[in-house]
Symmetry: C2
Subunit: 568 residues, 2 copies
């Protein structure tokens, strides 16, 4: 598959007027993005249809129109390029996920999230690979090697939980939300790392040593990527704290945060690590330390600018996938056996169902077994929701499929053509059909309480992601409690061994907080450790150990940034 | 000149690991951008060296290092591409210029700005073209056609006043600042439009009709581009006001503003208009209408996000130019006659000096003759400052020169090589040498008053562009006066003919305000016409015809966005 950016970037009209069509392409694309945003907004009220579906459908329609106007020659404006995807579109989405994640919930459920995201994805990968080997061999769809089957496993293990997240209410079901969200990110990273490990893996001589090497390689990628992200985040916090850019320019602070986050991603790619994991952890550390070291204006700007970039990238992506789905070239090879194409897609969809069920329910049971209190346990209805949330397949699957099955430009080859078209079919079907079912299904499984309906009129809590006041006050109470805990100068009683065994993540979290306050925050800044700035309403109250009300509202998370004085 | 984005965008490591060097390039580039920001910040205190010079010097040093490590084969990481420049780098810079411009000052001095920016650039263009025709013909530097000489005129009429703007204090000398700033933008647009008109112009048959056509084409480009920008800005205001995105999502508002601004630029390019002018006026209208229709958070975000994008683009640009300057290919053709190269550069520099002097002083006299009050007149020292501010040549010159002299890949051709290397020499010399002299020169011509030194500690006025409190209160008083003027229901006395002739821009401004309040703002929103939103501190007081204090602080301009209550 060719990278068609050369064409896209050719001469704008004002300079030499040579490549009229590429400017027209950009125009159409940007206009479609605007249309997606406006239509997505108009459809917001009845949340059956979300932004992803809107963009996909608009993309499909545009593809149809282009197909008709070019008399069936072409359906897309841009050629799908996994480079464009991995270099420009994915980083802002993943970084924003890390930056906006509710860290307290994330780290509190860290073990469970890793269980689902890493172990679960591995189980799903094994089942889908084995299933594909067993079922496709009988179908005669062309020559596929063992590497192809393993790649299928990795491709279809990459979930896309955006759709479910739009429906879940993170205030009513915080545990469920953080599990689905966290699993989604860790899953993306795991499947990309897996895919990469497979491509580097010598598949001819498989033995115990090779398998051990594979696992070692996987773990190395996982931990070194995380470490790199943490270093980048800490470095940005340290630099901004030491140099104190805000004194002169808000723009420098914001620019440095954007550039250092992007640098961490590209550096990971350069070192053959997983950029996704790196930039995700960079985002977490930036929101934990760096974000507190910048001026009030920079905080508001970064919070919304990152969310906006991520939003544009997501809409762009679905539009892109929708337009690319109708590409006539790919369908040509499989058009003489449409029945077989349907069967391949159905098998893959079935494997996705089974592969996900095979880990969600057992791992939930395992997680429940570790937990003591009933409200920390995952109910059966929640388990079904988690299972459902990961059935959609999205752009990561498409990007990986293109990479595996078109890397030598051989879409013409029959087996490859089957897998590309099946991937597109699975992605379209799961996103649109499952996406439409999600809202009523979640409504049926987790009937919403009705006391949040008034929050929509409050200007500063009107965003879907910001918690309504009632929940804030709950967190407020919790934040105060934990703050008091931290302020004790008397050392805490020695930890009960049973407590560590039964709820290890909770006590790990507790010790981390102690360590953080004693060693990390004094060096890297963060909540309560930013220098005093006169005239700043939030910073005025951010003296060490004198936490203000607003600080505690979301615990570790960025406060909701309300410029409204507390009296309102 | 080849567009090397294909190479740049090739496969990141995680996917297929084929193009290691391109990822390395992006890494180096982003790391250098970070370095420029940090070093620029450290050098901020003594403002002799500004960000542009820092980036240029870092770019040059990196070029040297690459030259040494590749043993003289290559000096740049990216090939300079005017497409990259015109499609991605220039739009955010120009849009931000329009968005942040102090509209009251800009429109108050509109006639003078257009006089300098449009008429002045034309004069400068004619003098430089004629001078080049007269002097270069004797030099034997290769075959140059009449079109090349006219292109030289357009290329060297494009000024770069960033450096001077960083030194000027817009609070102490608002007239001077708005003149230099406004002229810089209009000049950019004029020279690009001129350049474009020359390329489309049949230079073989020059007669009165052709010349008239040329002028007509120029005026058509100018006014239709402006109109397109205005339409885009008004459309964004209308859509955001009608749909009221903020109710659901800040991100949608911000995304729509960014995308519509970019769409206006690309649409102008598609229609062969001047994208620069379009996006500039789109920025002005967006800050006048759209910006007031969005939520408080979106306002802060857009203000700083646009400034940050523009900042990154500017630093990127100078870094790029610095690295490209050492490109060994271009210097090969001229290396056998270094003396002649120096002479060509000196002649061009001399023509720039003369060409600028030839319009600054006469046009200033003309402008002064129209003005009545002495404080509106441009003093001789200010005239020298304006003259000096436009002597630097920057990235627009480089981009146009590449387009004219390498468009067929014939840098090898002797005349073209001379002009490319001379352009680089003039840009480097003027930016670095003149840039270093600017600070002391302006300090000598316009000695600063000392009562603003304390403003640096105020957190919310710490940005270079935001006016200190004392100036704010001046504007406040002015704003109240004009507000009262607007609220009169009695029609004003019929305009005095003499007043219109002597101070036409002022009375035009007055009638525009009336028209704006009566017809435009009720439809498109804007200050005082945004819907009432409960819970929002600024919007709460933004009832129609009940302007709050904060609204009037800067008249038409975005208020300084201080979330500090007035009591602090």
């Amino acid at each position: 598959m060719a990278v068609d950016w050369g064409g896209l970037l050719m001469n704008p009209g004002v300079v030499s007027a040579t490549d009229y069509t590429s400017i027209a392409s950009i125009n159409i694309f940007v206009a479609l993005l605007c249309a997606c945003i406006v239509i997505g907004h108009l459809l917001e009220e009845h949340r059956w249809i979300n932004e992803a579906i809107t963009a996909l459908v608009i993309g499909l329609c545009t593809g149809c129109v282009i197909l008709l106007t070019t008399q069936g020659k072409s359906s897309h404006i841009l050629v799908f390029s996994e480079d464009l995807f991995f270099i420009y579109v994915l980083p802002p989405i993943i970084f924003n996920a890390g930056f906006q994640v509710k860290k307290k919930q994330f780290f509190r459920n860290f073990m469970t999230i890793m269980l689902f995201g890493a172990v679960g994805t591995l189980i799903s990968f094994i089942i889908i690979s084995l299933g594909a080997i067993g079922l496709f061999r009988k179908l005669d769809i062309g020559a596929l090697e063992i590497g192809d089957y393993l790649a299928i496993g990795a491709i279809f293990s990459a979930t896309d939980s955006v759709c479910t997240l739009q429906v879940l209410n993170q205030d009513e079901t915080p545990l469920l939300y953080s599990l689905v969200f966290g699993e989604g990110v860790v899953n993306d990273a795991t499947s990309v790392v897996l895919f990469h490990a497979i491509q580097n893996f010598d598949l001819i001589h498989i033995d115990a040593v090779a398998l051990l090497k594979f696992v070692g390689n996987f773990l190395y990628l996982f931990f070194s990527s995380t470490l790199l992200g943490a270093i980048a985040g800490l470095l940005s916090a340290y630099v901004i704290k030491k140099l104190y850019f805000g004194r002169h320019s808000t723009d420098r602070e914001v620019a440095l945060m954007i550039l250092m986050a992007y640098l961490s991603y590209m550096l990971a790619e350069l070192l053959d690590l997983s950029g996704i994991l790196t930039v995700f952890f960079c985002g977490i550390l930036m929101s934990h330390y760096t974000w507190h070291n910048v001026t009030e204006k920079s905080r508001i700007t970064t919070k919304h600018a990152f969310a906006t970039l991520s939003f544009i990238a997501e809409v762009f992506l679905f539009l892109y996938v929708g337009m690319d789905a109708l590409d006539i070239e790919k369908w040509r090879s499989v058009s003489n056996s449409p029945g077989k194409s349907v069967i391949v897609s159905s098998i893959l969809l079935g494997l996705v169902f089974v592969g996900r069920a095979a880990f969600v329910f057992p791992l939930s049971a395992l997680s429940n077994w570790r937990k003591k209190s009933p409200e920390e346990k995952i109910t059966f209805k929640q388990q079904v929701t988690i299972w459902w949330a990961g059935l959609m397949r999205g752009a990561v699957s498409i990007a990986l499929a293109y990479n595996q099955f078109t890397s030598l430009g051989d879409t013409e080859e029959r087996g490859n053509a089957f897998l590309i078209t099946s991937t597109i079919t699975v992605v379209l079907f799961s996103t649109i059909v499952f996406g439409l079912i999600t809202k009523p299904l979640v409504g049926f499984l987790l009937p919403p309480s009705t006391d949040h309906s008034s929050s929509i009129t409050l200007s500063f809590t009107s965003e879907p992601s910001s918690p309504p006041r009632s929940y804030l006050s709950m967190l407020l109470a919790f934040g105060q409690e934990s703050q008091v805990e931290e302020e004790q100068t008397v050392p805490p009683p020695p930890p009960d061994l049973r407590m560590i065994l039964t709820a290890p993540s909770r006590s790990v979290h507790h010790y981390w907080r102690k360590f953080d306050d004693k060693f990390m925050r004094p060096v890297f800044g963060g909540r309560g450790f930013v220098p005093f700035v006169p005239g700043s309403p939030t910073e005025r109250s951010l003296h060490p150990y004198q936490p203000s009300k607003s600080q505690q509202e979301e615990g570790d998370d960025p406060p909701p940034l309300s410029p409204v004085p507390a009296t309102s």
